[in-house]
């Protein structure tokens, strides 16, 4: 593994100008041996670093160095070390299985080869962005992540023009010439936001980044150098026309290409001037106990120039306390002094100072102040427009309150748009030609209209507006802004296309409205709009009845989910159900199929493609909730291979369940059928568009398509694109268009607009309910229990069978304590096998998810939980599982995890708990042995509880679950119990569920009640049902 680190290293100098640079270096896995004193033993040396950067990040040598390796610089940095070796950083440490690897080390200075970054703000962003495309073997260190956040936040200073030129002076203080001054032009950051960033960053910065410096001064140094250098680097690109404008002015030295130099021709007087100017920008408004407000009052249509600005003040303490200045001046002395209580002392003095500073930003204001008691200012129409367009923003930014008429606000603004209406009467015609294709594309007939503020408008009126001479017009009872150029363009468009109208698919319509939101709208009265608003807000959907045959009572949000599926499919659209884990996506799909079956609407089955680890769960849930649905699992070596027979088997089914890899392997079979619907469970499995598996899935034919996922897919753009490529091919463009239009601007440049557009594009097709939504919480009990059923792998099955055969022979021959012992040890062995073959074999073989579907499923679900930012408790009875699982999570997945077992010391236990519970700790996994973690521990940060294996005693399990579910828990707790199908686990689970069979009293404190069963019952109990084996 390679871990990318960067260090901000100030140049070592006492000079007046002390620059600094970012140096990038790459840490590698520790290598034994190879030591040279002081040199970091496991990092990429200059040749290797150059090669690494060239290959992975396309970094090339600059003009001066023919080879990139020549650009590398040796730097020294502080790192903690043990036994004269630097300790690996956390990313590497988490792979280390050694429990004591987190022990403290001595801080010492180490030498590393590093690459100095040019244009660091941009370079850091690009490397960060590109690193997410690299293999998991390239990881960004925490120091990199911190500096990345810090440098990217600095961009705001530049994008918001929050820096100003200033003139610094320096007393060179030589003995020969005391009071000899040098004057330097400098860019100074002047920003509240920046000051907050510095304050916050002092808390965020890891000691590794501070590298022996005081945090705040280092951060300020970095911020000032980066901003200053970014600005000065631009001077080379300033065109002659601009240089001419600043020639012979005080700004000329700021635009010089010659770097930082003292400027001649300045003096202390100039410093005073610059300083005085700067003080005007900073202002002293916070001293006043109130805000000065400017309220724009609109003119009546007959007197278009009778606008006015009204002066008001509001209390800082209580924003609802507002006084009109006109009222204030009318008050007598006592009334005024009462007001001072609300608005703070020296009211009139502060008022005047504020007026003075406001008038500097908005010079027209002076004319409103030509009296003793200013109350307001009349404005002409043009002045009012200028105020709205610009001055209001400046005043607001300068800390004044500005109140504008509602029609100017984004919500209240009327816009000129081209409107789409469904053609042929007021009802929309939705046609769904059942042509055999990828999916049904319902087509809408529509025509265009011109509209303003949701009202249709004819061409004459429109033309009149376009020809109006003012920018604000009074139109149909209200003022509005005119953008004549845009309106002219719309008129032209309408003249070209207006009469004809056309046909459009709903997906294309949604796309048009998302991408050209400023130009197009849908008639709100039109049925089209009703449909679109349901798409955009599923809570408006009528809720279906609970399907009659379904043996489950759907929760309200689940009913809405089923309605949503129905609604989309009726429109010929394909969606993605992305509810949080634990909210029951499976049951919603089963309900959808139940409705379909009762309506007798499908000729062919639904094809469900799922990861192998959940196939059993699907089957089990169908059995439980909808036994009337015929389902077939197409999996394993015994699966049907004959095309004709396959078709025949399928025709009798409502659902065919298979796994991802088989789609490609048995493509010939699957392509024979035009499926009623393809459902992708854990749809992020198709995220690689080039994989054969993905291509095979895209080739399948079906009427409907549905994707299921529990990961927050909106934030993972690649997953999102892939899922949409399955649902609505072409909707988000091809991969390179998508990358250009969305991925790079959103993920690299953090641009807000494309992400809004993307959200509008995908939102109608994704239903994602979070377990934290208030509506959902209302529907949920505090504790939600789910069973997760998984199959045995072939390896597990053969081990299991061998144990069962063996015990069957020996059971009849034994009696008393021996018999009891045999039964208990058998139970133990079978549990071990259900967990993982390695646990049973005790042979040190690999603890891989491949060998156990249960482990595979646990890992998949943990990933989902962690990606949602939740923490989780995992209970197991076995230390082997605890240890191996901890290693796997740390080493392979690099999740923050803790393991508490019987041997954990008390102090360590307390430290782990405190760390896990701390709100500052990232989402983590806490693994506990049932016995060690059973009592007296509060772990309320975990809102998911996994029972990896079962303690055949509900009381013990509940007690464990209560670690999370106790006082202090703010969230719903999701309990997931893992049960292997066709084994003792499934059968005992059923017995416990079925309280008639086993009274609570029989079930004691342990599992010994099982030994009271007679031999045949016991054999039945442990028997393996081979149908449930899936490889």
């Amino acid at each position: 593994m390679n871990v990318l680190h960067i260090h901000w290293i100030p140049t070592q100098t006492e000079d007046f100008v002390q620059p600094g640079k970012f140096y990038l270096w790459v840490e590698t896995d520790p290598v034994p041996g190879r030591k040279s004193p002081g040199l970091h033993p496991s990092h990429l040396r200059k040749e290797a670093l150059a090669e690494f950067l060239q290959i992975n990040f396309s970094i090339k040598a600059d003009g001066f160095n023919r080879k990139l390796a020549e650009s590398m610089v040796r730097q020294s940095i502080f790192l903690p070390a043990l036994n004269e070796k630097p300790l690996p950083s956390l990313e590497l440490l988490s792979r280390s299985a050694d429990e004591d690897a987190g022990e403290p080390g001595n801080l010492a200075s180490w030498q590393i080869d590093s690459y100095p970054l040019d244009a660091p703000i941009r370079s850091v962003r690009e490397i960060h962005f590109l690193a997410s495309y690299q293999s998991d073997e390239i990881v960004l260190g925490r120091d990199f992540l911190f500096w990345s956040y810090f440098t990217q936040s600095l961009r705001q200073v530049i994008l918001k023009d929050q820096y100003i030129p200033v003139l610094l002076y320096r007393d060179t203080k030589s003995r020969a010439q005391p009071k000899r001054y040098e004057f330097y032009p400098a860019w100074q950051i002047q920003s509240e936001r920046y000051e907050k960033l510095i304050r916050d960053a002092v808390g965020w910065i890891p000691p590794a980044c501070a590298n022996g410096f005081d945090k705040e001064s280092l951060l300020r140094h970095c911020g000032e150098v980066l901003i200053g250098e970014s600005l000065r680097a631009l001077n080379k690109k300033l065109p002659a026309s601009f240089i001419k404008q600043v020639k012979d002015s005080a700004l000329e030295v700021f635009c010089s290409e010659s770097g930082i130099k003292p400027s001649s021709g300045s003096g202390l007087e100039a410093v005073r001037q610059w300083h005085g100017w700067r003080q005007k920008l900073t202002g002293k408004q916070d001293e006043a106990g109130f805000h000065l407000c400017f309220q724009l009052n609109e003119a009546t249509p007959d007197h278009a120039d009778s606008w006015s600005l009204q002066f008001q003040v509001t209390s800082r303490k209580d924003l609802s306390y507002k006084v009109d200045l006109a009222d204030y001046w009318r008050m007598n002395h006592t009334e005024r002094s009462r007001i001072e209580n609300q608005l703070g002392p020296d009211f009139e003095k502060h008022l005047l100072l504020l007026f003075g500073s406001a008038a500097r930003s908005y010079p027209s204001l002076w004319s409103g102040l030509e009296c003793e008691q200013p109350t307001g200012l009349p404005l002409t129409l043009n002045e009012a427009f200028d105020f709205l367009k610009e001055s209001a923003w400046i005043l607001e930014d300068a800390g004044f309150r500005v109140i504008v008429p509602a029609w100017w606000t984004p919500q209240g603004r009327r816009r000129a748009k081209i409107r789409l209406r469904s053609a042929g009467g007021s009802r929309g015609t939705v046609q769904g030609p059942g042509t055999a294709g990828l999916s049904i594309q319902a087509l809408l007939d529509y025509r265009y209209e011109l509209s303003i503020g949701n009202e249709p408008i004819n061409r004459e009126e429109w033309s009149q507006l376009v020809e109006a001479k003012t920018s604000l017009v009074h139109f149909r009872g209200q003022w509005m802004e005119l953008d004549r150029d845009k309106m002219q363009a719309m008129l032209t468009f309408w003249q070209e296309h207006g009469e004809e109208g056309g046909r459009i698919s709903i997906a294309d319509l949604v796309k048009k409205l998302a991408e050209e939101n400023d130009t197009f709208e849908v008639d709100p009265e039109d049925s089209l709009n009703g449909m679109l608003s349901k798409l955009n807000d599923p809570s408006r959907m009528e809720v279906v009845e609970n399907p009659k045959q379904l043996r489950a009572e759907l929760r309200d949000y689940q009913k809405r989910g089923v309605s949503w599926l129905l609604f989309l499919e009726n429109l010929g659209l394909n969606g993605c159900l992305a509810d949080d884990m634990g909210l029951g996506k499976t049951v919603q799909v089963i309900a959808r199929l139940s409705v379909e079956k009762s309506e007798g609407k499908s000729d062919t089955p639904t094809l469900l493609i799922a990861p192998t680890s959940v196939i059993g769960n699907w089957q089990k849930e169908i059995e439980r909730f909808a036994p009337y649905l015929n389902s077939l699992i197409h999996h394993g070596s015994g699966r049907e291979q004959d095309p004709e027979a396959f078709q025949q088997h399928c025709s009798a089914q409502d659902m065919v369940i298979t796994s991802y890899p088989l789609i490609r392997m048995d493509a010939k079979l699957f392509n024979l059928i035009e499926w009623q619907r393809i459902v992708l469970d854990e749809a992020q499995n198709i995220k690689n568009p080039k994989a054969d598996q993905t291509r095979a899935i895209l080739r399948l034919k079906a009427k409907h398509r549905l994707a299921l996922t529990g990961t927050p897919v909106e934030n993972r753009l690649l997953d999102l694109w892939s899922i949409f490529n399955f649902l609505n091919p072409g909707y988000l463009g091809n991969p390179s268009q998508f990358r250009k239009n969305f991925e790079i601007p959103i993920q690299r440049d953090h641009a807000p607009l494309p992400s809004i557009t993307l959200k509008k594009l995908v939102e109608p097709f994704i239903l994602r309910r979070l377990k934290t939504d208030r509506n959902i919480i209302r529907d949920l009990p505090d504790k939600v229990e789910n069973k997760q059923y998984c199959n045995l792998t072939k390896e597990q099955a053969s081990l299991y069978e061998a144990v069962v055969d063996d015990v069957a022979k020996r059971l009849d021959a034994s009696e008393g304590i021996e018999r009891q012992g045999l039964m208990l040890s058998t139970l133990m062995k079978l549990k071990q096998i259900c967990n993982h073959p390695m646990q049973f074999l005790q042979d040190g073989s690999a603890f891989t998810p491949k060998r156990s579907h249960k482990l595979e499923r646990v890992i998949e679900m943990l990933e989902e939980v962690i990606s949602e930012g939740d923490s989780v408790l995992v209970f197991t009875q076995f230390t082997e599982i605890g240890e191996n699982l901890t290693n796997l999570l740390k080493r392979v997945h690099r999740w923050n995890s803790y393991y508490l077992h019987g041997g954990t010391s008390r102090s360590k236990r307390e430290r782990m708990i405190a760390e896990f519970q701390s709100p500052d700790t990232e989402a983590s996994i806490f693994i506990l042995s049932v016995k060690a973690g059973g009592v007296g521990i509060t772990l309320t940060k975990g809102n998911h509880v996994f029972h990896f294996d079962r303690w055949w005693n509900p009381a013990v399990e509940d007690q464990a679950t209560d670690r999370a579910f106790r006082i202090g828990q703010q969230k719903n707790v999701f309990v997931h119990k893992f049960v292997t199908l066709g084994t003792i686990e499934e059968r005992i689970d059923k017995m416990i569920e079925d309280k008639k069979t086993i009274a609570q009293s029989i079930v004691g404190n342990d599992e010994s009640w099982l030994t009271r069963l007679d031999n045949d019952t016991f054999k039945q109990l442990i028997k393996l049902n081979k149908q449930n084996v899936v490889d």
Binding site: L107, S153, G203, F213, D214, L353
Partner: protein
Amino acid sequence: MNRFTKTWWGQRFIEALESFTGAGRLQRGRSYAGNDRIKKWQIIGGLVKAEVRGNVNPYFGVYQEPTYRTSMQLKAISATHWNNLIKIMSSRAGLIAKLMTNEMPETIEKAFVQSKVQLLPENSRDFDVRCSCPDYEVPCKHVAGLCYRLASQLDRDPFLLFELRGLSRQKLQEALAKSALGQILATTLGDQSDLPSATDSYYTRPKAAKVPDTIDPKAFWTGEKPLPKEIEAANPNRIAAVLIKKGGDYPAFWDKQSSFIFVMEEFYERVRKGAQI
């Protein structure tokens, strides 16, 4: 604009001087405005007195470096008028607000019109200038130098104009104190912009901090608080150069006729588009 004054009132003062001074004297006068020539100067009761270092000039019979006594006085406004004027000023919030920001309001002359007096000098009738130098022409270059010097002083201190017109600072404060608005101005008089202190380093200098002897890797690689997950979207402002627009246009250091704000707007825009960030 010239290099001595950037304010409109300083400019008007200079224009009045220039209306009755010969071009040659003016030009030479400009080099007499600095500290190397004006050895000391003071204002007593509206009279500006200075000692100016002259040149050796055999033509005029000056063989040793001379020091001339130069003085300048503006026509005083009478006390009764002043009382009246201050009353008018104190009734205009805008005038007071602007004066509080240490600027002479453009509309101040309007307030003086009623009393038929002027605050700003207009021509030779407003000036009484003297110099001990042998130059036969009045005003001489020494007077011109002193006036240029005064103009730049006026930029920084517009209240000096009241003093030159015969109203001492003390009296100004007393008169202002009589009205509510004036009282407010009186309390802020004298708040001058100071010289900032000299800087020791161009950028904030990173200070060394003591590193602990031992540290565990987790504490070493993580901050005290967790880093936020999402970086805030990079939203440019809707209006360019909002910050500097708060300072108004034509700041004191800006010598050009063209708008400072306009130039800065273009600069900011170029940066937003072109900077490698």
